[in-house]
Symmetry: C2
Subunit: 754 residues, 2 copies
Amino acid sequence: MTYKSNYTIRLRLGSLLLALVLSITSFNCKRNQEQEPTEETITTSKYPILGLSSADAKEIRTLIGSDKILQASYVASQETADQAITNGIEVPLPKDPGGGYTHEKHKRNYHEMYSAGLSYQITNDKKYAQFVIDMLLQYAAMYPKLPLHPKSKENHPAGKLFWQGLNESVWLVNTIQAYDLIYDTVNDEDRKIIEDQLFRNVVEFVSVDSKDTFNRIHNHGTWAVAGVGMTGYVLDDQDMVDRALYGSNKDKETGFLKQIDMLFSPDGYYSEGPYYQRYAMMPFMVFAQAIQNNQPDLKIFEHRNQLLGKAVTTVLQLTDENGAFLPFNDALKEKNYLTGEMVFASNIAYAYYKDSALLPVILKHQQVSISSAGLQVIKGLENYTDTGYVKNSMLIKDGNGGQDGGLALFRMPNEKDGKLNAIFKFASQGMGHGHFDRLSLFMYNGKQEILQDYGAARFLNVESKVGGRYLPENQTWAKQTIAHNTVTIDEKSQFGANVKKSSTISPKLVFSHLENENVQVVSAIENNGYEGVEMQRTIAMVKDEKSERPPFIVDVYNLRSDKSHQYDLNFMYQGHVMETNFEYVQQNPLKALGTNNGYQHLWKLAEGTSDNTIATLTWLNKNTFYSISSLINSGSKMIFSKLGANDPNFNLRNDPSYMIREKGKSNHTFVNVIEPHGDFDPKLESVKKPHSDIKDIQLIVANKEYTIVQIIFKSSQEYTLMLSNQSHDSNKTHKITIEEKEYQWTGNYNLKLN
Amino acid sequence: MTYKSNYTIRLRLGSLLLALVLSITSFNCKRNQEQEPTEETITTSKYPILGLSSADAKEIRTLIGSDKILQASYVASQETADQAITNGIEVPLPKDPGGGYTHEKHKRNYHEMYSAGLSYQITNDKKYAQFVIDMLLQYAAMYPKLPLHPKSKENHPAGKLFWQGLNESVWLVNTIQAYDLIYDTVNDEDRKIIEDQLFRNVVEFVSVDSKDTFNRIHNHGTWAVAGVGMTGYVLDDQDMVDRALYGSNKDKETGFLKQIDMLFSPDGYYSEGPYYQRYAMMPFMVFAQAIQNNQPDLKIFEHRNQLLGKAVTTVLQLTDENGAFLPFNDALKEKNYLTGEMVFASNIAYAYYKDSALLPVILKHQQVSISSAGLQVIKGLENYTDTGYVKNSMLIKDGNGGQDGGLALFRMPNEKDGKLNAIFKFASQGMGHGHFDRLSLFMYNGKQEILQDYGAARFLNVESKVGGRYLPENQTWAKQTIAHNTVTIDEKSQFGANVKKSSTISPKLVFSHLENENVQVVSAIENNGYEGVEMQRTIAMVKDEKSERPPFIVDVYNLRSDKSHQYDLNFMYQGHVMETNFEYVQQNPLKALGTNNGYQHLWKLAEGTSDNTIATLTWLNKNTFYSISSLINSGSKMIFSKLGANDPNFNLRNDPSYMIREKGKSNHTFVNVIEPHGDFDPKLESVKKPHSDIKDIQLIVANKEYTIVQIIFKSSQEYTLMLSNQSHDSNKTHKITIEEKEYQWTGNYNLKLN
């Protein structure tokens, strides 16, 4: 199919809707005259039992003519089903790898079956049901004879229809729902063939032959148990269901419940990060809904203090102001909360928890799932006035007991641009898709990315870019520590970029205070990323309510070691350099900044030094200026670099970065102030406050116990930030005298303005 | 002032409007009771006479409570005036250069006087009039004693209030309008002081002391004559008016009418290009309106076949789909048709010509000028339904007789992205702000810039960037030929980058056919840019109506010389490289591509060669792929480069380019096909048509008379483009036999699909 037809489809939407409404009306008339027996069958059967009850399907049928969102959501399904019926059925022998013809065709097939199933429920037109039956019979004829997929790979769980087992599970999750939707129309003979030859064989393959994956505490395991468990409900096979819920041995050591317990933190954070959480929420929520419908006594949505509800809320909170998922770990920046998975997940969450805070996101979707949950959403939207999705500062703990560090989201209103958002990451490794980015910081101002996390190096599904898979540079650049706004020591990545090692231990939260409107402070430590170096970073976001100055960030990064090291604190700023308060030497020719661990990908552009006590870089991004002012000494190097070296296939974005390098240091404290400021208005040709407001930064003390920092503004305002590094007692009083001046405060930190 | 107060102002708009409406209402009551004499004075006086009649002011007063656009347009003026009155008057002794305090203050002063003048007309509150009088008296006390500005520069016309004379004229244009608005409230004694001490002295300075500028055919001259002419009307001094209209000697060799005749082409194109046309339209239209009000017999808006109306339409056509002015010559890409100048110009054009095609742009402004013209617009908007601003393919000729080449705008609908827009530039130099960019091509797809014109190297008003003036790199990079998508010969710019030389002669249009929906072709020559080299470029935009393929561009660039040269055809593509059909060698370390004429600013990234007959580069920009397929030979070099070398202050954007280099050639024909294609949808995770559709390009013949090119698509479609290079007769039949195949066609070109 070419994209032209897609557009034609959209243009024809209006007329199709009309045709649809008419066909429903005429169907209703016909049914009343001739099809009473069918109607009876439908109403006395318990099917469908997974996501859409027949009563709800009936109600959707009556509402669809008048509700625009419902209409728009449904029409695409019927379009897909109609087109599929026109094209005819093809169930090819599996042979191609991901992206290849048979791979894509089998994916399209389950999508078509599911669409036809929905179309049958909404129109009651049996041609849709028959299409599903016919296709399932073709699968049933082929499946028992299938060997492992010819393109399966060593060390990667194989499928039969697909090169990898994950796709097989996804196929099952979708196909069993299609079967459920048309269950009532299947005669006994076909049912036996479809269930015995196809579904039981697929379940056998997914849950027995691929037992390791089935019992894995991982999103691949979740897709597997969801498919098997839902098949169990439809086939009325409680053994299947129990194995899905409690693991192969039904000992609760693995299976769905254990996955919920292990893969999420008490705050609803999924250990792989938001990009994969989005993907995983689909099987979690769809299976949970089936459980709720069939075994309500399990109270699955109440499990772990309503964990599944929290997980949906948390992944939505982990988005920027454009709705894109925060791009840490392997993540594509284009992915936002409008994806299909979030439609399903948010609808099911709303249906159960009736949390109207979700409705603004659902309104952005302008789409619901055609399901009982979707119907609940439609009812919830009646008389609802959009108030916008609320995102506040919050701490999100990682680890199934909340013990594995986490994320701090700082969010303060910034009159001009929306909100200043900073993300401080001190979470666990996040399995194979995790990056070596502990204690990293990134920042958005309104909708603009200002200090970026590079995300993943990948062009999803673009064949010419390594088949659309992760690019080699994902490993050599994107995962490495230098690709993140944190400290790289001796030009090596944390844990030597070894996932196994880094997965054994996580950073730790020291303290978090995010409740105050004007001062928010979070501190975390990472003592294992580099042998013999203790690292503690404390991030404060500050708004002086008496000043017009936008909120700003104070960043204190302590490093303590017995040995001498090179400490590189990198900032991947986004924008155009406006000015610096120091001299720098441009490089010509350009050479790479280093030889490996990501450094080989950075062209070194310029290096600066200064006799000043602070180095300030100011850049422009859209209509706002930004400055990083850093405490430096005469040995500090300020290094400008740009991504793109040793990138033989132009796979990397050529993004800039700015680094403060400290060589030959054992203990060192980086102190930076990051300010958004001023305005660039090309329409009025006016520029306001293009210069940083920071006059000086002083480190009063930096030892194991305490860090005290003074920030002096050009307006002569002075901020003193006092941190207690070790004690985590918000009632304890601290007192320290430095050069005859006494500093005294209670609790983990104090910020004093004078 | 800081930006906080700006935002406070916006937030307070609602309540202010209410206050305003109330004050008008209460004023009307009071006026009826007590102020009859004033009312009488106002109605019997002819003032104001420039842009707003007192009858229209009265009507605006009655409409302002109910018309939202009018309200919004006015409120800012009264806010400015109120704030100015609160702050008090300051008329500092001129001392600072552009951007400095006294410079900005004198700019702010005329803006405040004009705002107060409007506020007086709308509210009839005399405090506003008094504010203008008081400030004028202060200027009157200072002006006669002023020397030339201390910061004026050699070889640049000086002002007294400002470092350059241009600002002095702009000051006069604004200030005389303010005076006109409050004219009736000035007593005889003040009037004498203001007119004799201030206005006549400023006019003397602008029109006599600065006679050269006053008589210059240039936008600086336009501001000068507009200020002087309008002052003549208000002071009832016909001598001033006549000098403004007909030049110092009143011989019509210079002055306003001559400027209209010389600076615009018959198509309404202003020779400096759209960025400066926007700026120049302000004095042209504001003065024309004053002429129309005071000397209607001159029929100024009918002059040269309604030239001024055409000029407004033409500059609006010279915008991209975001409304930004096409960024050729010195131009800042941020500037769009929402600027204040375009509000004034479009309102005046609408008031006179009643061309409702302008209304969609005015609706985008959501603002009118508070003037008689603005009132006409408000009336025009009643019952108007926005149909969107229509932009079609068009030829815009340059030169006061249309003889100096021009611009071809190709625009074809592209279902997926909006419109494919290509701009082929073969216009005159455009004076000092022109670039050496003859026969250059740039392209937009919908709102995305795909092949860019770099625009100017400047950060307007950003102090840290050379005071916000043009950067040194504007000369060393942005103006040079290599910065444009055209051929650079022997690494030198056209005319050796000498403005004087290049201003003597222009490229020539050969033929233009832009009327056909599916095939649009324009050809132009430039035989003077490089001594001894004849250059002809022919651009065709083609849509195959039978295919789903988006429109594409065929680009045929002939070079003919007796001597051997290096021909570099550069494309500043915007996006991320996806694939090439040739091998290339990455450079490491990176060195500049050359030593001067702009080459010194390009880092050479990679160089490719190929045994194939075409080289194809494919890149991704947002959700669409683009390919350039180029006819090559075994000696062709494909060079990737990136801007940023020898840029000591990070002044340049680090944009990529792709060059086809032919060395040691005398005659050579570049043939390129540029296609948008496919789709990248991160939400659906789908990618369509990521590869170029071009299989081969063949040059059948290329001689002085004819060029015949064959383009073969992968679908086996073949296009044959036959061009008659010399003859410009659309009725002439051409016949040529190449390798026993006969090609025959009538007219300048033929495109055959087989």
